[in-house]
Subunit: 341 residues, 2 copies
């Protein structure tokens, strides 16, 4: 190549990497053209591998998930996040490396060095619930840029991006309070995932902000929502003055399902007799009608925010705000309170 154009390899490099940049100043137009022509006629393209070797960064952002990145079941997949991840990565000129099969028994599933593979990229995004803390912290300790998608305050030093469940839950309660509800009950499952805790906090904050009292019965915490949340129980609560219920969103949608079933079984209409709220998005099979009042987790934006943060870390910049706001969804399951019949 350099031969055909009659110049040195270095000159070729100069010409070809100057493309786009305005600073073509260092090369004479004639040489430039000669090189460009030769390149075209040879179909020459700089080898990206060599390029990256020499330039020490490879324009690659990793995505590592502790479960299959593309599970067969679209509902429980990371797909929505990836949409945002890809868009933002593309916008910033990064390509994505999907580290496959963490759980699928794939590429490097085996050893504890499975995680080391990610060092191939300039930085890596992590998704999933079950994180191998040690390995992750190791990466961080080595100065490798790491971002976790989902709140991870327990893992000190690990940067993360998460949805602001607190504010979103508070907003839903505020909406109900504004409609006139005075007694609202939260139905949640009995685990202590950050996502659950956050929602409860937001719920209680919202109550307080509206001048309402949480009281002992305001949070219905049940190991098995379907078992505890009976029609009878609902009827009793309503008789006692409760006019609205909110359920937390979980993987399975169990709380929301149980709540709906119990209300229906109690012979109560919604929002005719009671108002319902869902702190999150409905499971796919219940997505149709009626649209639950609640909020949506902006998965696209979360993915994008994660990439932004990661890109910042890679560039050695400061981390930004890790919380992404959720979107309030008016829905059709909440109306003014109605006194019990």
């Amino acid at each position: 190549m350099a031969g055909l154009a009659g110049v040195s390899q270095a000159t070729v490099s100069l010409v070809l990497s100057a493309r786009g940049d305005g600073r073509a100043a260092a090369i004479s137009e004639e040489t430039r053209q000669r090189v460009l022509d030769a390149a075209r006629s040879l179909g020459y393209v700089p080898d990206p591998a060599a390029r990256r070797l020499a330039a020490a960064s490879n324009n690659l952002l990793g995505v590592f998930s502790f479960t299959a990145t593309f599970p067969t079941d679209v509902q429980h997949s990371y797909y929505p996040f990836l949409v945002g991840v890809e868009q933002e990565a593309a916008a910033r000129g990064y390509d994505l490396v999907l580290f496959t099969g963490s759980s699928t028994g794939g590429a490097g599933a085996a050893g504890p060095d499975a995680l080391s593979r990610v060092r191939l990229a300039d930085g890596c995004l992590f998704l999933g619930r079950h994180v191998p803390r040690a390995e992750l912290k190791r990466l961080v300790a080595d100065g490798f840029p790491v971002v976790h998608l989902g709140r991870r305050e327990e893992l000190e030093g690990v940067a993360w991006v998460g949805a602001d469940y607190v504010s979103a839950s508070r907003e839903v309660v505020a909406h109900l309070a504004e409609l006139g509800h005075r007694r609202i009950v939260l139905v949640r499952e009995d685990d202590d995932a950050p996502a659950s805790t956050d929602r409860q906090r937001g719920f209680l904050d919202g109550l307080a902000a509206a001048g309402l009292t949480g009281g002992p019965g305001a949070v219905l915490r049940c190991a098995d929502p379907a078992g505890e949340l009976t029609a009878q129980r609902v009827r009793a609560l309503v008789a006692d003055g409760v006019t609205a219920f909110v359920a937390e969103e979980t993987d399975t949608g169990a709380a929301w399902r149980a709540l709906n079933a119990a209300v229906r079984e109690a012979g109560l209409g919604c929002p005719g007799d009671v108002s319902l709220g869902l702190l999150g998005s409905p499971p796919a099979d219940l997505a149709a009608r009626p649209v639950p009042t609640g909020f949506d987790i902006p998965r696209h934006r979360l993915g994008a925010a994660a990439v932004r943060l990661l890109a910042a870390l890679v560039a050695g910049e400061e981390a930004e705000e890790p919380l992404v706001a959720c979107e309030f969804r008016a829905g059709e399951t909440a109306g003014p309170p109605v006194p019990p019949r």
Copy 2:
């Protein structure tokens, strides 16, 4: 790294690249362990770019799409393919590089060298309709392993994997013939996409195999199905002895929609009065009921097959059968023929 283990760089390379292979014979178990331990403690991972440059492989398979890889609309996305791609890649120990933003204005959207980025990987999978032929053939000519997902016979030399529409369509016709239908009409759009042509061929093959005659009217080819395929037309055909219709699947589902609309408008029930078949999967909004008799394109398996083929090419092996069988779907829109009322 080599220092910590007290061995030469070459030994490190030997140890690390022998992994998986049974031929660890050339290295003493002790040295091997020492290197492995050192690597683990340092979190060392061979630089893929360097690896590739040094003429080996880097365990990376590329995925390049000519539209955004992750369109917001899941329905029209490559998601189903990616499920298979990821699974198969994981199973074979490959990681995936998503070359982003071909159309999104991303990473390398610009020049004609956008495609050259894929050379970083050991081989690359291409998805999408609008292929830059020249660039692709260039890659192939350079001996870079390339597989296109979807039939691409026009691009000589480019390996591809596609669905076997011919056999699948033939099977649907055979099913109808077995039910007793003697006059079947194919409704197709008026373009010459390979997918359309294949279906028609399968349709005619199926007719012939069942001892039925295609005849001039067996294929209803209309530029605008909605315009041509009127209720009147359907009624006339039925009066003339036609007892079953099959429509091809297209992006928009236009043919199938038009067929359904016309039949309904003609006051005919299905499968009571006429049987219907769909050569493909129904559009999402019509997916519910009734399930159309027809076939499903096994997108998972297509993705997996593409990876298998690509892996074979990367390994310098022979290409395998590029056609993936579709799955017959009994559905609920076909029954025994009924004489016109």
